[in-house]
């Protein structure tokens, strides 16, 4: 039975969402031997401004590389949460950051308000790795890619010398997922 799983990572420029999307795609495509595409939409700014990264994972060839009916939406700003939740499919999953999102939308999807940025800053030690904490949560909740593939993809992609920090960020994200799972 073939499948097409759509993930949208949304927030603002500088939050590492494009990198997170690329890691998720590489985990699926290279280490789990599936097909994956990652695309983005961004403004001319280097920091700030709306940013959105989309990952499609499938066991077949992927034609349209953008999301049509989202399975999982990550929202790291209130604006992105408000703007994109209506694209979630019925029974989809919304994961929002509790420090930036105060109003969680209601719909026919499961939603979780979680301490993503706070966990990265206080428990892992660097707010910068919030994107990798989020990947841990996404991997744990969706089970769309294996934990091993994610760790391999993270280590292959993050700057040298930060592997340990990023591994810790990913594991912390997985633990958050277990609590809500």
């Amino acid at each position: 039975m073939s499948f097409r799983y759509e993930v949208r990572l949304s927030g603002e420029g500088g939050q590492g969402l494009v990198l997170a999307g690329k890691i998720l795609a590489e985990a699926a495509a290279i280490f789990d031997n599936l097909n994956a595409t990652q695309s983005q939409s961004y403004g001319p700014e280097a920091r700030g401004g709306a940013s959105r990264s989309e990952v499609i994972i499938s066991d077949e060839d992927i034609d349209y590389p953008k999301a049509v009916h989202i399975d999982l939406l990550l929202a790291l700003t209130q604006e992105s949460c408000d703007r994109y939740h209506s694209d979630l499919k019925e029974g989809g999953i919304l994961i929002a950051d509790q420090s930036t999102v105060s109003q969680l939308p209601v719909g026919k999807f499961r939603s979780y308000l979680l301490p993503i940025i706070e966990t990265a800053r206080d428990k892992v030690g660097k707010a910068l790795v919030a994107n990798i904490v989020a990947l841990g949560i996404i991997a744990g909740v969706s089970k769309i890619v294996s934990e091993e593939a994610m760790i391999n993809a993270i280590e292959a992609r993050v700057p040298k010398g930060t592997e340990e920090l990023n591994r810790k960020a990913f594991q912390t994200g997985l633990e958050i997922a277990k609590k809500i799972g």
Binding site: G21, K22, A25, E26, A29, I30, N35, A36, T37, Q38, S39, Q40, S41, Y42, G43, P44, I62, D63, Y64, P65, K66, V68
Partner: protein, 382 residues
């Protein structure tokens, strides 16, 4: 094949990165360009990789000079290319005409963004299709090809160089922002599977060489400057020696040879792909990223029991009008989705006449065409 080779052959890359790698695989050794979104990663990768191969990377002062530089490098024997987007492509037109007239092989990549003018730097469009054909003045030959996936971008970049060398002509690789920036899985061919065309060299001594000979194939052999074959290159109408002429007979012979050399070899140039077309009643004709939306729409339509099929152009110019007409017999209608206001739909109408209606789906707001828009049109027609 060792395990290491098989791992390296599978990568997640963007279309721009794959374009740069395809150019290197085609033995491109000279790049001159001026970075512009959404094409800049092509220059970025080549600025790192070309010097390692002994090749040359130059960041030029503008796109006019970039075209001039790659024409000069090609005449001196290097396969050469530049990459840009709409605004830079406009500046290149004068020298593209020169390359076409002087029959200098080179590759121009245009990663299309929204226009006109500086338009939408970070958003996709396909509105330079007609500019690729007629952006430079005069009756001139041109080849334009359009990949639709990252893997195909690698393959068609190599093909662009092969066609340029084979037919002594500038070749335009038309990409778009989605394709340039999408990261996807690519399984690269083994190096022995890659075919690279070398320039056809003359079999005569320097004193007998005619750089613009009226050969049977329409494509005269070409030598590199510096090898002892001295000849004249000009944008003026010229005779077989390359020197300017005002003789009507020579001028006409040149213009007809130039324009016929692609037309008479069109079977070698025109390339397209079909998907679920055998029993199709609704034909979706598209190219580049829009063809990905179209393919998904065909999938969705088939799920609803509608016989839709995809006809995807890989060669845009010369236009596959005959091939499209040949695929029209059993259709109720064509649907042509594209990120412009109907530039290719117009060509399709011209190709099929009044035999079937041609429905347009156009989007010029910086967003890709959603497969559901195409599906809605298909359902409306049925």
């Amino acid at each position: 094949m060792s395990e290491k080779d098989s791992t390296n052959r599978v990568q997640v890359l963007s279309g721009n990165e794959a374009c740069a790698m395809g150019a290197l695989a085609a033995d491109m050794r000279f790049y001159a360009g001026y970075p512009i979104t959404p094409s800049s990663e092509i220059a970025e990768v080549l600025s790192l990789e070309l010097p390692k191969t002994g090749g040359v990377f130059i960041q030029m002062e503008d796109e006019i000079a970039s075209m001039g530089a790659i024409i000069g490098a090609s005449l001196a024997g290097s396969k050469s290319m530049t990459a840009t987007s709409g605004p830079g492509f406009s500046l290149m037109q004068e020298n593209i005409g020169y390359a076409s007239m002087a029959e200098v092989p080179c590759v121009i990549v245009n990663v299309m963004r929204g226009g006109p003018s500086t338009g939408l730097p970070t958003m996709p469009a396909q509105a330079d299709v007609m500019q690729a054909r007629w952006g430079t003045h005069g009756d001139h030959p041109i080849i334009a090809i359009a990949p639709y996936s990252v893997g195909e971008t690698f393959d068609l970049t190599i093909r662009a160089f092969n066609l340029a060398e084979k037919f002594r002509t500038p070749v335009i690789l038309l990409m778009d922002e989605i394709l340039g920036h999408v990261n996807e899985k690519v399984v690269f061919p083994r190096s022995e599977e890659i075919q690279v065309v070398k320039r056809n060299r003359p079999g005569v001594a320097p004193q007998n060489y005619l750089p613009y000979a009226n050969t049977e194939s329409g494509v005269p052999p070409m030598v590199s400057f510096g090898e002892g074959y001295r000849y004249h290159v000009t944008g003026l109408a010229h005779d077989e020696t390359g020197f300017p002429t005002n003789k009507a007979q020579d001028i006409e012979r040149l213009l007809l040879r130039l324009n016929n050399k692609l037309e008479r070899n069109r079977d070698q140039i025109i390339d397209y792909a079909t998907d679920q077309f055998e029993d199709a009643e609704i034909g979706i004709l598209s190219y580049g990223s829009s063809a990905r939306s179209a393919r998904h729409a065909v999938f969705l339509a088939r799920q609803k029991g509608i016989k839709a099929g995809l006809f995807r152009l890989k060669t845009i110019w010369p236009f596959a009008g005959q091939e499209i007409a040949d695929h029209t017999a059993r259709l109720k209608a064509w649907v042509v989705p594209e990120m412009n206001l109907g530039q290719i739909a117009h060509e399709v109408e011209w190709a099929v006449g009044r035999s079937v209606p041609v429905h347009r789906i156009n989007r010029v707001d910086g967003n890709p065409i959603n497969p559901l828009e195409i599906l809605a049109k298909i359902e409306e027609i049925c």
